[in-house]
C-alpha cells in the first residue's frame, strides 16, 4: 500500500488494513518491473522487484519522498540493476549495483537525498561472475560496450557465433574508444616479446574465420581493468571455423596490450575488413 495521509474519522477498509499489515510485516507483494524504472511518490514504503536479462536502472528523483521513507529493491533478473541518482543524491557504503538475487533498501534522509543500504549478496563472494550485459550482434561495423561498471576485478567477454561478411576476417578490439596509432600491440600467447614496440591502433584477438558458418567461440579476459597505473591487456582464446574447410577449426590464443594507464570503461569490437553479420551474441561478465 502506497504511503498516504489519513484523516480524522476516516474508515479504513479491510483491504487497506490487510495491505497495511502486509507492509508492516514486510509481507506485501513486490511491484514487479521488467524494464528500467523511475521511482514515483507512491513507491514510498513499498517493495519493487526488477526482472530483466539485460542491465536496468532504478532512477531516484527529488521532491517525491520525505525523510524516513523507504523503498526496498530486489533484482530477480540476470542483468545488473543499478540504482541511479536522477535529480536526487544517492549515497552508499557499498555498491549501487544489484546483481541477480541481490536486494537493498533506499532510506530517504530528506526530499532530495537517500542512502542505499545493500544487503549481502552472492556477488560479495570472491571469484563470482556477474552477467553485466547481453548483446545480440547486429549488422554493424563496430560494437562498443560502454559505461562498464568499475565494480569488478576482471572482465570476461564471451562472443558466441560472431560472423563477418568478409571471408577469413579476424576479430579486433580497442579500449576506451581509443583509435590512436602506436598504442596497441598483439602477441601470440606462446611467443615471448622482448623490447617490442606498440605498433597498431587495435589488437587482433582471433584467427581468420569462415563467413558462412557461425559456431565460433571467442572468450576475452581483461584482468585488473580498473587500475589507473599500469598497461592493460586482453587475453583471448578463440576457436573459429576454417575459411577453406569450415568443418575444420582454427584456434589461437592471443594477448593484446594497450599502452595507456586509465581504467577501462569501454571495449570496442570489430572485424578486420568487413561488417558483422546480424548473428551471434556478446556476453559481458564481471568477476568479483
Amino acid at each position: 500500500m502506497a504511503k498516504q495521509t489519513f484523516t480524522t474519522g476516516q474508515v479504513l477498509t479491510a483491504a487497506q488494513m490487510t495491505s497495511l499489515q502486509q507492509t508492516a510485516m514486510l509481507g506485501g507483494a513486490a511491484s514487479a518491473k521488467t524494464a528500467s524504472y523511475t521511482l514515483v511518490a507512491a513507491d514510498a514504503g513499498t517493495a519493487i522487484s526488477m526482472s530483466n536479462a539485460s542491465a536496468t536502472t532504478i532512477t531516484v528523483n527529488t521532491a517525491l519522498f520525505a525523510a524516513g521513507d523507504t523503498v526496498q529493491i530486489t533484482n530477480l533478473g540476470a542483468g545488473v540493476c543499478t540504482i541511479t541518482a536522477g535529480t536526487a543524491t544517492v549515497n552508499t557504503a557499498s555498491s549501487l549495483a544489484l546483481a541477480q538475487y541481490e536486494s537493498g533498501t533506499l532510506d530517504f534522509t530528506s526530499t532530495s537525498a537517500a542512502i542505499f543500504i545493500k544487503g549481502a549478496g552472492a556477488v560479495a563472494a570472491s571469484g563470482g561472475m556477474t552477467l553485466i550485459s547481453t548483446t545480440a550482434i547486429t549488422n554493424t561495423s563496430l560494437i562498443t560496450l560502454s559505461s562498464i561498471p568499475a565494480t569488478y576485478k576482471t572482465l570476461q567477454v564471451v562472443i558466441r557465433g560472431a560472423m563477418a561478411e568478409g571471408d577469413n576476417d579476424k576479430l579486433r578490439l580497442q579500449f576506451n574508444t581509443d583509435v590512436t596509432g602506436s598504442r596497441y600491440r598483439t602477441a601470440d600467447a606462446v611467443v615471448t616479446l622482448d623490447n617490442a614496440t606498440y605498433n597498431d591502433n587495435n589488437v587482433e584477438l582471433s584467427p581468420g574465420q569462415d563467413n558462412n558458418s557461425s559456431t565460433n567461440l571467442i572468450v576475452i579476459t581483461v584482468p585488473d581493468y580498473t587500475n589507473t597505473t599500469t598497461i592493460k591487456m586482453a587475453i583471448s582464446d578463440a576457436v573459429t571455423n576454417n575459411a577453406t574447410t569450415n568443418t575444420n577449426i582454427n584456434y589461437k590464443r592471443n594477448v593484446g596490450f594497450y599502452k595507456q594507464t586509465p581504467a577501462i570503461s569501454s571495449i570496442s569490437l570489430f572485424m578486420s575488413s568487413s561488417n558483422f553479420y546480424a548473428t551471434g551474441s556478446i556476453l559481458l561478465y564481471g568477476v568479483s
Binding site: S36, N52, S54, A55, T56, T57, G79, T82, T84, I132, S133, T135, I137, T138, N139, T140, S141, L142, I143, T144, L145, S146, S147, I148, P149, N168, D169, K170, R172, V179, N201, N202, G208, F270, S272, S273, S274, N275, A278, L284
Partner: protein
C-alpha cells in the same frame, strides 16, 4: 535494421542497458577503412604464401607432412 551505405555503430551502455545504433563518424570510417586495407593486404600476402608453398611441395613431389619431417 535498415542497411545504409554508411557504416553503422552499435553501442551498448552496460550501466543503463540502453542500446543505440548510429552512423559511424568520419573519424571512425577513416580508421576502419585504414584497417580494412591493411587486413586485405595481409590476407592477400597469406594467400600468396600458401600458393607458393603448395607449388614448391608439388615441384618437390612431397606432402606438407613430409616437408615437416624433413625439417625436424
Amino acid at each position: 535494421m535498415v542497411k545504409t551505405n554508411t557504416p553503422q555503430v552499435q553501442i551498448i551502455n552496460c550501466t543503463t542497458g540502453e542500446e543505440i545504433i548510429r552512423d559511424a563518424t568520419a573519424e571512425e570510417i577513416a580508421w576502419m577503412q585504414e584497417n580494412a586495407v591493411k587486413a586485405t593486404a595481409e590476407k592477400a600476402e597469406a594467400k600468396a604464401k600458401e600458393t607458393a608453398k603448395a607449388q614448391l611441395l608439388s615441384k618437390l613431389g612431397i606432402t606438407a607432412e613430409e616437408a615437416v619431417l624433413l625439417l625436424s
